[in-house]
Every structure is written in structure tokens, then in C-alpha cells.
């Protein structure tokens, strides 16, 4: 279990990093919490590694009223501690273990695009985007729906660096939740659902979206606003909502779970996550003094 040999580059700033990537191609090394296991197991053998850990300018986290921008070197733990975005925080608690979160990066997880990873679903349900840069060509912003191309495949092209990801803040009266089932705490989920619900002034559902993981090649986004029929959460026809979510997914079976079990799970988790999100939204809309 030793990584295959590679040529190592350790650029000190963004310009040098982009130049190196454009020059030698090769793979970006961020937290290494996905790439190094793949190297150790010899599932990947890049000729060049471009280590961005010394590019301090990428370790940024900017919270603005419209959303949170996470730089390529912001680690899971740093982002969770900053508590800048409620859904990011909820999702990060489910990503691996605390020690892995000290090294792994949010942007690295997006680029890695594991179909069972939590953060791609967060970007997808919020309609966020990833900013890509290439030497001599400026930057391009890729929206979530185009960023995740297939299992372990994102829109990042050889020679490009993902410099940051943008997670939009939801409108007032919104709530979010993340529910998943994993074999063991900290493992990748068998299936998971993150939900974002916005209520109107009468606390009726004005918008409801979910993104599901582990049940398709990329996060499966389903907008169930129509199925919620602008009712209060307590009278929504949850069976119809669950069906709509299940119909959007295409789970596959493997040694961990059958396709049928994943389909069942995603329905149960969607209902739970949407109800949790609606409850959080109601609290946000009308915070009750009794519960704070």
C-alpha cells in the first residue's frame, strides 16, 4: 500500500499553481483525503501532483448576504467551525470523521464528485456554483447542475483549478435539513437526502427542493414544490411527495445495499428531511419565545 511515484510540485501562489497545472497537467493535491487513499490503493497513478497546500490565498471563507464563498484550501473543519451556512454545517457533520475533516477540503469533495458524498448535494440543492481558473484564460463559473458530470467526474478539465465554490443563502423563511443512512457513523451513506424548504407568510410551503445522494450517478435534484401544493407542512400529502422524489432517482444495487432498499430509503429520508426543513423554516419565520 504505497503510492506510485510521481513528480511533485509545490507552488507558493495561485499564479504559479495555474502555470504549473497548465504546463504539466497532472492532478491537484488538496486535503488528500480522497486522492491519497486512491494512490495508496493504486487506483490512480498521476505523473504529476500539484500540491496547493502552500497557496495560503486559497484558504478563504467569505460570508456575504447572498451566499458563502469557500476557497479551495478551506478545510471541512474550518468551514464547519465558522458556522457560515446552516446547510453546509448540517452536511459537514456527516462527512467522514473529525480527524479526516481537519484535512479534507470542501472544494476537493465537490471536484472528487463521489455520488454518495454530502457536499455535492448541498451545492446542487442550493443551486450553487464552482469557479474554475486556467492559466491565461481567466475564470469560469460552472453551475451545480453542469458541474457534476458522472460518478467521480466533475466539469474540471485537465489543467484547470477549482478556486472556490459558492453556496447561496436561501431567502428568509427557509429551513434546511440533511438526513442519511450509513452502515457505520462516518462512512459514505447508502442513501441520503438534503432538503431546502421556504415557507410563505402564512407558513404554507412556497418552495421545496431536495438533492439525493447514493441513488444516481450525480446528486439527484427534485423540486417538489408542486406536490406540496402550497399547504402548511402538517397537511402536505407526503406520500405523493415521496413518490415524486423516488421517481426522480435511479438507484443501483451493490454489495452494501440493493437498488430496492436504496429506493425505499430515499423515500423515507426525503419525507424526514423535508419535514425537518419545514420545521426549521417555521421556526425561522416565527421564532417561538418558549423554545428560543
Amino acid at each position: 500500500m504505497k503510492p506510485p511515484p510521481f513528480t511533485y510540485h509545490a507552488p507558493r501562489d495561485l499564479g504559479e499553481a495555474l502555470e504549473t497545472l497548465a504546463g504539466v497537467g497532472g492532478k491537484v493535491l488538496a486535503g488528500g483525503q480522497s486522492l491519497i487513499p486512491m494512490l495508496n490503493m493504486r487506483l490512480a497513478a498521476p505523473e504529476h501532483l500539484v500540491d496547493i497546500n502552500r497557496v495560503a490565498a486559497l484558504a478563504t471563507l467569505e460570508a456575504a448576504p447572498e451566499g458563502v464563498t469557500v476557497g479551495a484550501l478551506a478545510r471541512h473543519a474550518q468551514v464547519a467551525r465558522a458556522d457560515a451556512h446552516p446547510l453546509l454545517g448540517q452536511a459537514l457533520r456527516l462527512v467522514a470523521h473529525p480527524v479526516i475533516r481537519n484535512r479534507g477540503t470542501v472544494v476537493g469533495s465537490l471536484v472528487h464528485a463521489d455520488p454518495a458524498a454530502e457536499l455535492p448535494a448541498v451545492l446542487a440543492v442550493l443551486g450553487g456554483s464552482v469557479r474554475l481558473a486556467r492559466h491565461g484564460q481567466g475564470e469560469r463559473d460552472v453551475p451545480a447542475e453542469e458541474f457534476f458530470v458522472g460518478p467521480m467526474e466533475s466539469a474540471v478539465r485537465p489543467g484547470e483549478l477549482a478556486v472556490s465554490a459558492f453556496f447561496p443563502v436561501l431567502p428568509a423563511g427557509s429551513g434546511t435539513a440533511f438526513r442519511e443512512v450509513a452502515r457505520r457513523h462516518g462512512d459514505y451513506a447508502l442513501a441520503g437526502v438534503c432538503a431546502a424548504v421556504t415557507l410563505d407568510e402564512d407558513l404554507h410551503v412556497a418552495s421545496a427542493r431536495v438533492a439525493c445522494i447514493g441513488v444516481g450517478p450525480v446528486p439527484v435534484v427534485a423540486d417538489v414544490t408542486t406536490e406540496c401544493d402550497r399547504r402548511p407542512a402538517s397537511t402536505v400529502d407526503w406520500a405523493a411527495v415521496t413518490r415524486a422524489v423516488q421517481e426522480a432517482t435511479e438507484p443501483e444495487g451493490d454489495i452494501h445495499a440493493s437498488a430496492a432498499y436504496r429506493l425505499h430509503l430515499v423515500g423515507v429520508l426525503a419525507e424526514q428531511a423535508l419535514k425537518d426543513a419545514a420545521r426549521a423554516a417555521a421556526q425561522e419565520a416565527a421564532p417561538s419565545p418558549a423554545t428560543g
Partner: protein, 159 residues
């Protein structure tokens, strides 16, 4: 190509010439002779290779030695003070929190950092804190007890 690196390990600057692919775990064990850091799975799952990097626990099997050139590493060998084993180490002994000891270096480093950040963790916080470390012997009960005991010892000794 080999790289000349300097790591400050347990307070001492140590130099090594390593190929880029040298994992920090192997650098510590083979290049620096510090075999207290154990290696189990080499893909981040078991936690026995956990060391402190600038005070924060990380997987040394998922870190290249070249990446952390110039940084501070604490291994299990560096946990004891001049007066002997650290409170966390003593608590593990007292509570029988180890049997074969293979997982112990990783637990000790993880718990040392955990209690530094959270000196009085709840049961749930203890379980969450050690959830990334596997032990095939103890059944975890005594490890969880040892974490609470270590918190007591640290509080008593004002550390």
C-alpha cells in the same frame, strides 16, 4: 527525485531526504525511527496512524511528508512530559483502555487534541471524537471511560 525536508517532531527539528510519495507515517517510522505511530489500513479508516500536525489530529497515512515540510508534528512518543506519562496516557492505563495496544497511539493523539479543544466532553462528544479510531480488542467501553478520566486528571492538575 528526493526532497530535503525538515519536520519539527516532538519539539526537535529533524531532517530527512524523502521521495515525494513518502507518506508521513512511513517517514516517521522508517526515516526517523519513530515506530510509535502505527499503520493499519493506509486508507484513512482505522485511525491508528493519527498524529498531531501543528496541534491538530490528522491521518499520517493520508499526508505526504513533503507537504508538511517545516511544520510541527507530535507523535505518541512526544505526549509524555518530563515527569512521565501524560494525564491521557495515565488514564488509558488506569482504565484498562488498551489490550494489544495497536490502536493506542492513534487514540492517545486523538484524545489529547479532543480534550484540549473540549476539556469536559459529554458521553456523546466522546463517542463522536473517537468515532474515527478502530479498536479490535477493548470494545471501546474502557476507552470512553478513559477519556472522561483523562478529563478529570487534566482538570485536577490544572493543565
Amino acid at each position: 527525485m528526493e526532497h530535503e525536508i525538515t519536520l519539527v517532531v516532538n519539539g526537535t527539528a529533524r531532517r530527512a531526504r524523502v521521495p515525494a510519495r513518502r507518506l508521513l507515517s512511513d517517514c516517521l517510522r522508517h526515516d526517523l525511527g519513530l515506530t510509535g505511530t502505527h499503520v493499519g489500513c493506509e486508507h484513512g479508516v482505522c485511525g491508528c496512524c493519527t498524529v498531531l500536525l501543528d496541534g491538530e489530529p490528522v491521518r499520517s497515512c493520508l499526508t505526504f511528508a513533503v507537504t508538511v515540510d517545516g511544520q510541527e508534528i507530535t507523535t505518541v512518543e512526544g505526549l509524555a512530559g518530563p515527569e512521565g506519562p501524560s494525564p491521557v496516557q495515565r488514564a488509558f492505563g488506569e482504565c484498562h483502555a488498551l489490550q494489544c495496544g495497536f490502536c493506542t497511539p492513534g487514540f492517545l493523539c486523538t484524545v489529547t487534541a479532543l480534550l484540549r479543544e473540549n476539556p469536559a466532553p459529554t458521553d456523546e462528544e466522546v463517542l463522536e471524537g473517537i468515532s474515527g479510531n478502530l479498536c479490535r480488542c477493548t470494545g471501546y467501553q474502557n476507552i470512553a471511560k478513559a477519556v472522561h478520566r483523562a478529563a478529570e486528571l487534566l482538570a485536577e492538575e490544572g493543565q
